[in-house]
Amino acid sequence: MLGYLLEKEFKQFRRNPFLPRLVIIFPMMVLLVFPLVANFEVKNIDLSVIDHDKSSYSRNLIQKVIASGYFNITDVSETYSDAIEKIESDRSDVILEIPSNFERDLVRASRGDLMISANAVNGNKGGLGTAYLMNIISDFNGNIRAELTGNANKLQVPFLEIIPLYRYNPSLLYEVYMVPALMVMVMAMICGFLPALNIVSEKENGTIEQMNVTPVQKFTFILAKLIPYWVIGYLVLTICIGVAYFVWDIIPAGFLGTLYLFVTIFILAISGFGLVISNYAITVQQAMFMMFFFVLTFIFMSGLYTPIENMPDWAQILSNFSPLKYIIQVLRMVFLKGSGFKDLLPQFFSLLGFALFFNSWAIYSYKKSS
């Protein structure tokens, strides 16, 4: 009986003018475009400079700031209030004010004051802009000290430099971190939405009634809806791994087999969730909206964009209810650290729990009669 139902599902899928293309194009688009645009590295910070000193040191400092590549000097103001005006009219994000006598103080008193003010409406940009600027200044400071104290004293001046070693992502590439997680997002969208919409459109067309009047078991019917999305999920994952390799040069450090195993369980969980929604929704519109609500919540609670550790406590607790959290951890760990099955046991059991829970609920809530 299952064979006949699967035959039907696959034929319908293949004949759909839209879905087979979507399943191929969607993952490619997300993995090609999202890592480029959804990037938290802040560049092109507009900087206002107020140079009261106009000395060679102050010019050097400004040169250094420009050379860093993070800042565009969009404005040179005479007074602080002029610069603030620029910020208010959104022509500038950060102000760097160099006081008069900056050079003299540095040389004579070995100290100089600088002021940075940042527009924190976009907190991320303001914060990072300030941090970048402080880094540049402290670097500048180091150079000046070396220059002023001369070679003779160089050994006596304690010079502290920290060289961080970033394990698993040595160059802190944003793509390396995001690409595995974006794969999960694609799979959640495709393998969650499609089964939900599939059943609800059968409700809308009335075809499900003809099914409900047959002796087909609920379990068989649900399984026939799940298996095609397993296959589609594998296809999506394979496309994703291909794009990650060919475009982003990202190769999983761990075993591919581990990835596929975990993804198998994850797809089962998220498709099961889609089926639960489909059992409660009467129209495609309802199903679509419910799925959006839950899938978006799952995504934001999953640590895909923002680390879960940064969330308030209550949100951290809520995040445990997002199946995406566990599979994103798995994909990042396998891709970046090369973690094996043993390291991922907690995630394995969590995902398995979600899969069993959602699918039992789907079978329970699928009613052949009202």
């Binding site: 039907k8 009634e209 009047v213 047959t214 002796p215 052949k368 009669s369």
Partner: protein, 245 residues
Amino acid sequence: MKVIEAENLTKKFGQFVAVDNISFQVEKGEIFGFLGANGAGKTTAMRMLCGLSKPTSGQGKVAGFDIEQQPEKVKANIGYMSQKFALYEDLRVWENLRLYGGIYGIPSREINEKIHAALAQLGIENEKDTMVKSLPLGWKQKLAFSTAIFHDPKIVFLDEPTGGVDPLARRQFWELIYEAADRGITVFVTTHYMDEAEYCNRVSVMVDGKIEALDSPKNLKKQFDAKNMDQIFHQLARKATRGNN
């Protein structure tokens, strides 16, 4: 032998009593007409007998199985053709028949033979590979009927099977019904075409959820002193309070 037995069958949706305490029996091999105006409760009653809808109260037995306790056993023994066309439009004619054949557990080889026979009976052998969505309505309904009796059920339930088709197609459809009845399949059919009522062995007329008349067309005409079923229907349906507001 009775293949359908309904006893005080009632279905309520909140305050609304869709089917109000109906009792009747259908004999094996009968063509039983289930008449009533729109909204009289025909479809709800039929859906209860098919195991698609649970009765609020009362009992029903179909093909010897209790509709509430053993709905899946009932389903294995009946065929059903809903008011709304319910076959898969994006499957071919033979694929729809094959799907339902498979679901009812007919062996694969037998399915192929039966598809051939069914299409020959409908006279649409050439449309075997046609996508169902491109069939004309009359053929779609014949195909839906063919699918409903593909697994040789004991009883077939037809919910307004000839709605919206031309008189010729309706005539042909009734020939199919007679052929099925000759094969021993009991036919339970709802309709509001009164000429079709004349083709039935027995008819019941439902008004506002209740059965107001039940007998052979001939006896009913005597009882209501009417020339045809149409007059009987008008006499009874005029009493209806539902659907007039």
